[in-house]
Symmetry: C2
Subunit: 157 residues, 2 copies
């Protein structure tokens, strides 16, 4: 059985996010999974996601950190409640705050690995730290404060 | 005479940034100008830059803050040296650190206004604060620490 990403469980009407919505055909379709105690996602930037020649555009790095951060938050929230991601009610997080430190230029043309570490799960808030690596080197490091989307944003299924 | 944006002065080989390169046909082509003591840019997200229905994807907001931040840094650096942006050597900044606070959901379908305030110009570093407004409401606030690109990244003209 194929393991599904957390984004594969998002309700359909919340699955159009440009960064991680499985139904946004123009978007990045980031997919986040557990990998032991951490979360993981992979993304290969396109040639046009360039900053300066040879390197990935910082906005894209911020974007994939953001989306892996909200995915990580959802994974952590289900785990904290000891629930499966196909159980109800669904968890869907939005970003309250995003911090990205660009440690070294991120090379274009290789698959990037995002790893998430859960820092805190408290009430409706999840804080995670996300690294972005290329060729096993950490190129950027982010911190995402994600909050559960207000209930009235979620259409009833 | 049409006023040129700072990005219109970037050397050709550094003008392919997905966020603000005038030569990246797939990118956002953000253009940053002085507006009194502040800097300004405008951007209208596409329909597919969606987060949840009706709202702009946070990664895009981070991206345009990032690029207006580096553009603001370049504008500030020329000003600090009392030089015109078509004088040599060219200034081109990259982002060292990006912080974004999402204050309220940013509505999709309207033009966004970015305003930049210079906080510090020191050595090779410029710090700016950027707001993103929709319908005259500030929806997100960012802080960009930009540093001059290392000289060896800049090809000689």
């Amino acid at each position: 059985m194929e393991i599904k990403a957390i984004q594969d469980y998002y309700p359909e009407e919340l699955s159009y996010c440009y960064g991680c919505g499985r139904l946004n055909e123009y978007g990045h379709q980031i997919k986040s999974y557990w990998d032991g105690e951490e979360t993981i996602a992979h993304f290969t930037p396109k040639d046009f996601h360039i900053a300066i020649p040879g390197y990935v555009y910082g906005g894209l790095i911020a974007s994939i950190i953001d989306c892996h951060g909200t995915g990580t938050a959802a994974l952590a929230a289900y785990k904290a409640e000891n629930r499966e991601p196909d159980s109800l009610p669904p968890f869907r997080f939005v970003t309250a705050s995003l911090q990205v430190d660009y440690i070294k230029p991120t090379p274009l043309g290789v698959e990037l690995e995002l790893r998430g570490k859960i820092i805190e799960v408290k009430g409706r808030k999840v804080i995670s730290e996300i690294t972005v690596s290329a060729d096993n080197m950490v190129c950027a490091r982010g911190k995402v404060i994600a909050v559960q989307m207000p209930d009235n944003f979620i259409a009833q299924n």
